[in-house]
Symmetry: D2
Subunit: 361 residues, 4 copies
């Protein structure tokens, strides 16, 4: 209740930023899929702190241990248990503030809801929780590719006001990973990097937008009512720490358009019987169901709340006070959030691929 | 699987735009709540076609019949069954196109996924399905108000490029209902109405944005990981027909900000022990859990796909053809979507209110 | 929450014994299945009151109306809404007892849990609720047969101490339906019938046992841990009114055996590569997963609580009083419960068949 | 999907008998509950192999590690992750049979369903999986006692044909734990022990029955339709390895009774307004909802399938062969299953207690 995601391919996570470790149980994984364990680790490495000067200096190797569900390199079809230890948790940076609520953090809401909280770090609301999602998503990616030919790619589209225009159809993993900003336009990436460095120097943080595309999605994934494909993608992305907005296809810009400009007319595809759309304002989803075109989406992330400046706040008795946080934090969440967005998209797509196969054969 | 929403307060809908009728089963409703049946009907009347010259001319009285779960005017706590008959379904407008796929509609994806479809209307993907959600949401609203003091209000913020600036804290139902656009700024509403009339005259349609606020939400609803309050709101809104984007609080604008500008510092509230934030970029949710401030959100709706113009498309064999739809359709979805957005927000909030009461007492 | 059953093929019911009607929403039905609507009605007729002198005299035609999800005789794959009206509800028999709790009925627990109840009849706990399950199960049966070759048959094994020994492998629907007791051994059926008539004459009721078998179940349905096939069958059967016990395969008798007698050794089957077991103490399920042998189970039903005798009880203030119920009730539940048990078995098997297809392809 | 149990208090397990370890994620635990970690370990010790000469000699300390969700000795309300390492896994006993299917084991069904299996031990279907359930159940027990005053106790009622008559109202943990059979009647326990020793000496195994009672359950837990309290208990118990039958209250014996003997008449209780029943054939549940009386149930366990005798079977190509298993196995499952039955009952009761609190306040 609250930490699980998916119906047929279901991931349930546990773990806090400061504690024994984090992990996940994956239920419903198709059996017999050869898993590349190095590829799982590579995804965790993309998410891991300390990978560049642009991100948190916390030193976590984030080695994943698979405890069950994989045998002689293949998925068993039964529950996969996986775990990542916390090795560089440092509660001392948090102890001075254990009775104060950091602005725009989860401290106040967590403590009021539950009556107590693990004040060392952000607890369950910490972005560190996503390590378990990335590991599960890395498995989902391999199953998606092996059984359905689906691939997911995300990248940084904007940092603050600096925006790149990237063609979702030609973007590559190599281009995304070519710089620490994970923006496949090297010039814009350099500008973003300069902006992040300046913000970090000022003790501040900055927001950004991640764009993602899923290629190779067959027609038919999703459902026409509540479990629309875009609805589950929206839930997936808005369940990430710091996300404030989600768009599919034309998104908010679509709300400014007229129908004759927005409609995606159907045209015959290259293969006999194949159908395509001339444009893709729908973002690859119509009536809640994938239409075979690339699925395109965007996720907005606010600036991380931990700024190294003195701010007004209240203490646990509700009295006015000030706080100046310490600790190791990212000045901008989006570079590390790229693999996280990909992981969440993969979880949604695999779940719906299995649901479709179950219902429709 | 696919038509149900919520965990403790769960709504499962059925029904197509052209068929015997639509309805819902509501599980988990708190018992003993006095239901104002007229108020439920009023919500349906707000959503109903034919209510003004700006919306579809289909004539549906949308009278709701409650078949179970309510006894002598009060909720029994057991499953509520409710139904609305289709009385003005007219398949004849669709018959000429039964073998063609209307652009940006669900026809193609539905038929490809399932191998067949109810070609009379949009089937389950039709906006008519939301009649069941509005009825369920109307019950949720009454429970929310009676047991938790929570109220939800939505309104039209923009149509095309025409945008109103509305203060979420002072908006009233009366102001929203004062004009058929459901935009509480009468001057902007008039401009919107002119725009919609012009679009309709051209046989075209136009998109828009709905804004919503929830007032009186106590601190503590939501969860820190997957079932974040904003994640469930996002799923709720993105499960609506024609929605393309969702924002909470600062939304996409937040992605352009720096942390020192975005953070909502805590200040003591008016009551002893009460805590508020000086700003509300968080939109009333922090770490996935409500913080007691108004919950603010926006939903983008694309222009409705049914335009009365000839368009390219393909037929069910994938051959090029053209289509010029007929039927009774809205030129702009947002006026009628206002009560729908409110209903979905109410479903999410009540579900989380019950979940919180269950877990935390 | 509480009225839904199944994961991929999910049925959610509504309705009380005395109210507007009863019905169900079926989610996840495979598309394109040709439905025999008469066959659905026949299942309802098997469950319906008034069908013989051995059952309740309540006159309900139990005509099912399908409101959505079926188009031109085939399943659409989208939510099926179905409804049965109550036409012979008679609250007057209950009015004298509205402030008294009928012994071993749900009156006391319902009123204490919820603070109120629909005192006309048994509300949601009434066996009348199962009309919706039988309708849904009738659809599941048709899908099971069409897509998976699976068939389910139940029959009355015992009434009181009178027991029939029936071979699950040779029992037929015709033999079961050949007498109103639904016991395929005509001599034992006659003895049962005499027993039921005597009990009814005395104003009393009597319990019984239903046995069921599923034939044609392929190897592989189920799951090894929580969602074991027998666990979901147990939940299905124990969710029926008046059921007190469930067994699969050897059942309680198996608890008295030694392993060398209980083990089902594997033997090659008739087809190349086919595997069978020499005995079937496992009841067709091993490690939570079907093994290809017939799935055998038994369900115990207590005597119906409504006896036409004066009994001690308490009123809604907890004061001692007496009650002598009136109304139209069955002297023995098992003849009418036969199609209900079949329906529940079909729901479980179809859900697991779809889940298996989804996960394992 | 398949390894999770519960709605509000939800437990999802992972792990195989031979692999890195086993564990569980617990979602929805009430916050602020002081956890006695030693009491959790004591429950694991009751389930652990090697505790007496009557059970498997496998040496597992079964030390539980709690990775998240508990802080300074109290539950956080967020996901609890817990893990038990496998330390004495010995695949060598299984290697000779990796291509043969042990009779009445899960080998054949698992391999056919998934196409492969972890042949070292029983994989997910192994009774070792229950270590995670016992750990989670031990937490549930503590929450049940602290917040709801509910206690659960199970004991061995029979082994083979040897049966004890135990009064569920006076049985104590001390009496149950006084002998390794966990039968609170010492004379019957001695006879059971002799029987088990004889069976073991013969290389055979024997079945048995566990009885359980829940005391202090308030009126109102459960639901009237699908999620009847006895239905969820049935699923819980029938999801245990080797269980073949479940009864609540009068069980199968109730099916032989007449209503006038079976009905539990209501009588005023000792406290003003309190209501009791004079008898308890209902087993503490009426209409799916607890009635305040002790909840009584029985679970039948077949003899464990691993017997140290040569048996016919087939190999993975379906060819006839023989098998004579080795390994460390229990001659009778019921002594170790006592804490497992208690754990499952506690999981069901806590989930329903939270659900009731959520819905009904």
């Amino acid at each position: 209740m609250g930490s699980g995601f998916g119906q047929l391919f279901r991931v349930t996570t546990f773990g806090e930023s400061h504690g024994g470790g984090l992990g996940a149980v994956i239920e419903g994984c198709p059996p017999g899929v050869v898993l590349d364990l190095d590829a799982i680790q590579r995804e965790l490495d993309r998410r891991r702190p300390g990978q560049s000067a642009l991100v948190s200096a916390r030193k976590e190797s984030d080695r994943v241990e698979i405890l069950s569900g994989v045998f002689e390199g293949r998925t068993l079809g039964t529950a996969i248990g996986l775990m990542v230890r916390n090795t560089d948790a440092d509660a001392s940076a948090y102890a001075p503030f254990k009775d104060k609520f950091r602005p725009s953090h989860a401290d106040f809401t967590t403590e009021t809801k539950y009556g107590l909280r693990n004040w060392a770090g952000g607890g369950r609301a910490s972005a560190r929780e996503t390590v378990a999602r990335v590991a599960a998503g890395a498995i989902a990616k391999q199953v998606l590719k092996a059984q359905f030919g689906i691939e997911v790619q995300a990248w940084v589209q904007s940092v603050g006001e600096i925006t790149a225009e990237i063609d979702p159809l030609t973007v590559t993993l190599e281009a995304v990973e070519a710089n620490p900003m994970r923006c496949p336009d090297p010039e814009v990436a350099a500008a973003m990097e300069a902006r992040v460095r300046a913000v970090r120097k000022a003790g501040d943080t900055i927001g950004g937008v991640i764009q993602a595309v899923a290629i190779g999605v067959p027609v038919g994934l999703g459902a026409p009512v509540v479990d629309k494909l875009e609805a589950d993608l929206a839930k997936a992305m808005m369940s990430l720490p710091a996300s404030k907005g989600f768009e599919v296809g034309s998104g908010f810009a679509g709300a400014t358009m007229i129908g004759s400009a927005h409609n995606d007319v159907f045209v015959p595809g290259r293969e006999p019987g194949e159908v395509r759309t001339a444009t893709n304002h729908s973002g690859g989803i119509q009536g809640g169901i994938s239409n075979g075109m690339p699925i395109t989406m965007r996720v907005a992330f606010k600036p991380i709340a931990t700024i190294f400046m003195e701010q007004d706040t209240v203490d646990s008795q509700g009295r006015s006070t000030t706080i100046k946080p310490k600790g190791r934090h990212d000045p901008c969440v989006v570079p590390r959030a790229v693999p996280i967005v990909e992981a969440m998209a993969a979880l949604v797509l695999l779940d719906h691929a299995l649901r479709h196969r179950g219902q429709c054969g």
